[in-house]
Assembly symmetry: C2
Homo-oligomer: 427 residues x 2
């Protein structure tokens, strides 16, 4: 007898709620676990991963074969592949998280109030975190270790292409948790590839405190539109470098080169270059030569094309496009205010940089550009968790509330007020 669509969705919702309840219970248990035991669990997971290399390879071969049968592109197959070196990198990643300081329990600002009570703020886990990601199986262990270290239970929903690899990794995590005496349900991997599971996960605030999607823009936009649980996310990285009239020419050229060409696909790569009209003659010809040499297509405003004659004319859509490719939009602006206006109009509040030796304008840029990372005289490519010293990164947020910019362990925690008295009552 064929199952109806409605009863299928009901079954999956039921299954997801059972995962949710177990995650809630695990989250309560994790509040009683100290840093040493969490690190012991991470070390146990490392040992289990190391011992499971043949299983991981076999599971991954299964995924790769299915991927080839389904005609996945070479790029996707490469992302999916779990080579021995990638297992080494996964293990190194878990050890790195174990070595990070534990943010949980830290009390800030503890001080006496005139009433005699003592008030401070304690950092605590968020609770249960749902992570939704696409093909890379290494995300499974990376997300699990960051959530575990920050005292959160997590529910992981990987891509259907990586089902067997993710299941094999999940089994290592489960055994590692049990080896260390922690509840296995602290990390749960969703066992169905049905899309209804995502729909359920993002709409059960009674069980899940925050959703972190990792993947393409369309996946994240869909999740953000449908979720009733808060989502930590960014959609676009339309990052700008503004070369001010008072820029040092050598720094400007080096930064504008690096921000675009060091890598094309990351979200912190520059997509639009803004140049003050008074310095255009000094920087555009040398930058154009570099971009031309590296094969970067330039899409320029009419005034820029006076300096770069072979460039394509930019359309309005170019100012709000994240290329993630060797394409760059270039615009000449009349002054600092026009640059700010352009960035705040077309940008995605991700990462924007100014190149200038003018201290007043640098200070204004910091205050007036409303982005999660604002940079003076350095490449936008620095905007990530490792470069900022977070030790690891679970994503980048352009949200205004909670964590903004690269999100590390601290972004997976929240703060509650703690109060100490000696029988104090309010008068």
């Amino acid at each position: 007898m064929q199952q109806t669509a409605t009863s299928r969705v009901e079954d999956i919702t039921h299954y997801m709620q059972a995962l949710g309840q177990r995650a809630r219970d695990a989250s309560a248990a994790l509040r009683r676990v100290d840093s040493g035991r969490k690190n012991a669990a991470l070390e146990a997971i490392v040992a289990r991963l190391d011992a499971a290399r043949p299983n991981l390879a076999a599971a991954n071969r299964e995924d790769l074969q299915r991927g080839r049968d389904h005609g996945l592109s070479e790029a996707l197959l490469d992302r999916l592949a779990l080579t021995n070196e990638r297992v080494d990198a996964m293990i190194a990643g878990v050890r790195q998280v174990a070595a990070l300081p534990d943010p949980v329990g830290q009390i800030d600002g503890l001080s006496y109030r005139p009433s005699g009570i003592q008030v401070g703020q304690m950092r605590v886990p968020l609770g249960v975190i749902g992570i939704i990601y696409e093909s890379r199986p290494n995300v499974t262990v990376e997300a699990a270790s960051l959530c575990l270290k920050s005292g959160n239970a997590c529910i992981l929903r990987g891509g259907s292409e990586a089902t067997a690899s993710n299941a094999a990794i999940a089994e290592c995590i489960r055994m590692g948790l049990e080896d260390a005496g922690l509840p296995a349900s602290a990390v749960q991997v969703v066992a169905t590839t049905d899309r209804a599971a995502v729909g359920a996960l993002i709409t059960m605030p009674q069980f899940v405190d925050v959703i972190i999607p990792r993947g393409g823009k369309s996946l994240i936009a869909r999740i953000a539109a449908d979720a009733t649980v808060p989502v930590i996310k960014h959609l676009d990285g339309i990052c700008h470098v503004y070369i001010d009239a008072a820029a040092d020419i050598a720094k400007a050229v080096a930064i504008a080169d690096n921000a675009k060409t060091q890598r094309y696909s990351p979200c912190n790569t520059m997509e639009t270059l803004l140049v003050h009209v008074d310095i255009a003659a000094q920087v555009l010809p040398s930058l154009a030569a570099i971009y031309r040499h590296k094969g970067v297509e330039m899409r320029c405003c009419p005034r820029t094309r006076e300096w770069i004659e072979d460039a394509v004319e930019a359309s309005d859509a170019d100012w709000s496009t994240e290329y993630l490719a060797p394409i760059l939009a270039i615009r000449i602006v009349d002054d600092f205010d026009r640059a700010i206006e352009h960035i705040n109009t077309y940008g995605s509040q991700h990462t924007d940089a100014i190149v200038t030796e003018n201290l007043t304008l640098a200070r204004r840029f910091l205050a007036e550009v409303d982005s999660s990372s604002v940079i003076v005289n350095a490449s936008t490519r620095f905007a990530d968790g490792f470069e900022y010293g977070l030790g690891a990164e679970i994503g980048i947020s352009t949200n205004k509330l909670h964590a903004r910019g690269p999100v590390g362990l601290e972004g997976l925690t929240t703060r509650k007020y703690v109060v100490f008295g000696d029988g104090h009552v309010r008068g």
Copy 2:
């Protein structure tokens, strides 16, 4: 010709979006305004309010008369009344906000990374804040001054009962802003009482960064369900005091008395008292005498009724009810773990207290109770912005993300990363 419902909603949406765009523009302008000018604007608003006392009184009389005609209760009429003393209090409130330190621009943790860049986090305004509130007109100036001081533009939507009073106050704010040379649209009061205005306000994330509702639970629940803009809120204050076996009897009695009876209507008033079975005989008879004397109805579990024979038997619903009235649920628990379980099951993650001399259990209570305020040996009534030293409070949040507990000026800001280099590029 009669307007159709659809075109009415369209007109209001259009009107609200125009407010939203003006607020966005004002928010950009406020990023350029220093603390001194914001304080000057607050002082100018004080002067305008002081000079407008006759107008405020006349407008308020109009609201009171309409309220009486519509049969508003005496309690609501009292909340609506804008006496000369309440104008004094409003003025004192604005001056208090002016005297608070400005959180905007503060840079924390600025430090050099191995790459040579210098990274820190700068506190910045959220942007545009929508406040939706009920009858008290003093909220208009209170919310406006907190938003202005924290560099945010705001859109205020007060209750229809207070339309004339709110309009008169808004006029003072507008003139004060203009006196100080700030854009009048930094504070906008919605001029229509149509409910569609609320619907529009909470669903325009392109113009509004956060919604703060102030009012009854049903208003807030409705807003939270429909909003696409993040909402800073709490629904219930089901606050607990747990008297542990190792409690000091005098402290336990004083705290359990104060937490319930100091005032009945605030959200941080105790609604359920939990008592360890081993100390019940020592605290329940004296507490029952106090509550009986003060007219507090006790709803008790069967074991508690052995000590308080005249008490009503509690139903399961009592454990999850916020009475906001002289009613108290009382339950005897077998041990510390049962107390934690009760609080995390039935509580609202608002404010919970333990009375104990046992340090280990006090430390466990702090770590394991997942509430926005967790208190040891003091009354739950301390959980507010003034008692915690925030200087002022725009509300209390039980959200996990962003501000949790009493929300003051800092909760109206967010942090972005700032990076300084000298031409640094990523290798």
